[in-house]
Amino acid sequence: MSSAITTGFVPQAKTRPPRTPGENYLNVAFGVKSWLLTTDHKRIAILYLVTLTILFFIGGAAATVIRLNLMTPNGELVPADTYNKLFSAHGIIMVWFFLVPVVPTVLGNFLVPMMIGARDLAFPKINLLSWYVFTIGAIITLWALLAGGVDTGWTFYTPFSSKYARTNVLPTMIGIFISGFSSIMTGLNFIATMHTMRAPGLTWFRMPLFLWAHYAASIILVLATPVLAMALILVGVERAWGIGIFDPELGGDPVLFQHLFWFYSHPVVYIMLLPAMGIVSEIVTCFSRKHIFGYVFVLWSSIGIAVLSFLVWAHHMFVAGQSVYSALIFSALSYMVAVPSAIKVFNWTATLYKGSIAFETPLLFALGFIALFTMGGLTGLFLAALGVDMHVHDTYFIIAHFHFIMVGGSVMGYMGGLHYWWPKMTGRMYSDFLSKLAALIIFVGFILTFLPQFVLGYLGMPRRYHVYPPEFQVLNVMSSAGASILAVGYVLPLFYMLWSLYAGKPSGPNPWGATGLEWQTPSPPPPHNFDETPIVTTGPYEYSIEESALVH
């Protein structure tokens, strides 16, 4: 009984139908049908994992060609219009079809029910539907991007997108519109699950920070995505019928589109980031064997980021012709987002302080996240300043800034989470050496790719051009060299993780000695997660209790 209390897990008297020993969610049924018609959140997470990995490498391929083209000032590799289509495809795939869904739909889907001690998400069928909707949207968009392409960039600014572009704007937007519903379904499922399906004893303030981060991200998914849907409908109507909703010649205002677009697309950055922050909170506590420093502060900073993220969108539009007063307010509000973000970084650092740190692979990725996110976040403050933004707007400074946040932050966090929970998902351990090597390669490659871009942007190299003055070549070659290192870093995990499925050592239920309900189940977990509904008696991250229990 004492061991049960120390892990915060007490079996409840209520019994479930008996389960054959060794049965888990992977071997409970076989065949294509058992996967395509599953409502098990864990299997749906695997479906998403496969889909999103494919999309990640397609988006990455576009980036590779972009970087290769920028090796030389004249851009000899691809013609200008192909270059435009490449960076549009890269942005569209990476934002909507990788970064936004990746952490919630893969790790969130797998872990949210397990972490709250439930057998599934609140709406399992809607969860499966979301994968189908997402896949249909992705196929439509991919088809549009491959059969002709789009040259508007991922931002679809009017009136170019609504009037002048002669590329596949409409089909691409339809694909994005459809996939938006999958975002809404996922967010809705998470919020409903966390409100109504927490295990007995798991109060709101005992929830792991991973869950709080997903709750905050779900708020954004549910409340921001519909505005994008409407913006896309309006552009579609204008484009199809030539009506001037955003056309100044016909009485419309193109800046209004930017308002709607960024009302979604600024918070969307935090959809990518918040779940990754949740991952980092889990990893940092586990590998420093400490309770998180300032649980309540980290928790409320997640909610604070979710709310504040909606109050800053027009800092993308400082040079677009909005009112001076509006720009001033948005500039001031943008600074405020720094407060909850900084709280998180300081609290992770304080958690690591004097912890007994084990430098396992997930922690390496989490440390990479903290470093790169801090740099990305601080340069974001430069951009929130009206005067500086005028200078660096639409330059490589912006590109470097948001790649530090999205790739250095979100992708690093995702990789960390995937390495952290991979033993739980598959029951296998991957190569320790290769995974640490990959973490190192990704970090070095990332710095080499994007640090020169800050300089390039500050010197005035605009984004989205396929040629540049010769004096920028050295920095561009550095960046491209870094990108090839980065590519190696991303391909490497694909191999050792697949290899671990066949030759990996069995990991056991809790290879990291972590707290949290998901580690109380066998790896891989049984179909309904818990044989008995758990009762939670402590908060998360009670590593100190566990250590003392081990002594006795």
């Binding site: 109504t196 409340l223 505005v227 009302f263 027009a314 009112s323 001076v324 509006s326 307010i329």
Partner: protein, 96 residues
């Protein structure tokens, strides 16, 4: 969400109020109010929507979580409207 069963009497009364308010709002549109038509119409609309929400949708007896969803959606709608419209209302003050 197994709140009390609303008696049919309540539904009929709310319905009567809704019809009366509809007649009022249509009648007001015949007056020469100029730009105030929209204001008056939307205010009456808010009253009608509240009646539908509270009684037909049982918000009166709903959980805190449902209220949270309602209030959050209205709060976020407020953010969208206030911050966007404030841009348009202040553009003429200072040209640049």
């Amino acid at each position: 969400m197994s709140g009390p069963i609303t008696p049919t009497r309540t539904y009929y009364r709310v319905f009567a109020a809704l019809i009366a308010l509809t007649l009022v709002t249509v009648y007001v549109s015949f007056l020469e109010l100029g730009p105030w038509h929209t204001t008056v119409g939307v205010l009456i609309g808010v009253v009608k929507a509240s009646l539908v929400g509270l009684f037909f949708m049982h918000l009166l007896h709903s959980s805190k979580a449902s209220w949270l969803a309602v209030l959050a959606s209205l709060f976020w709608l407020g953010i969208l409207m206030v911050l966007t419209i404030s841009d348009y209302l202040t553009r003429h003050i200072l040209e640049y």
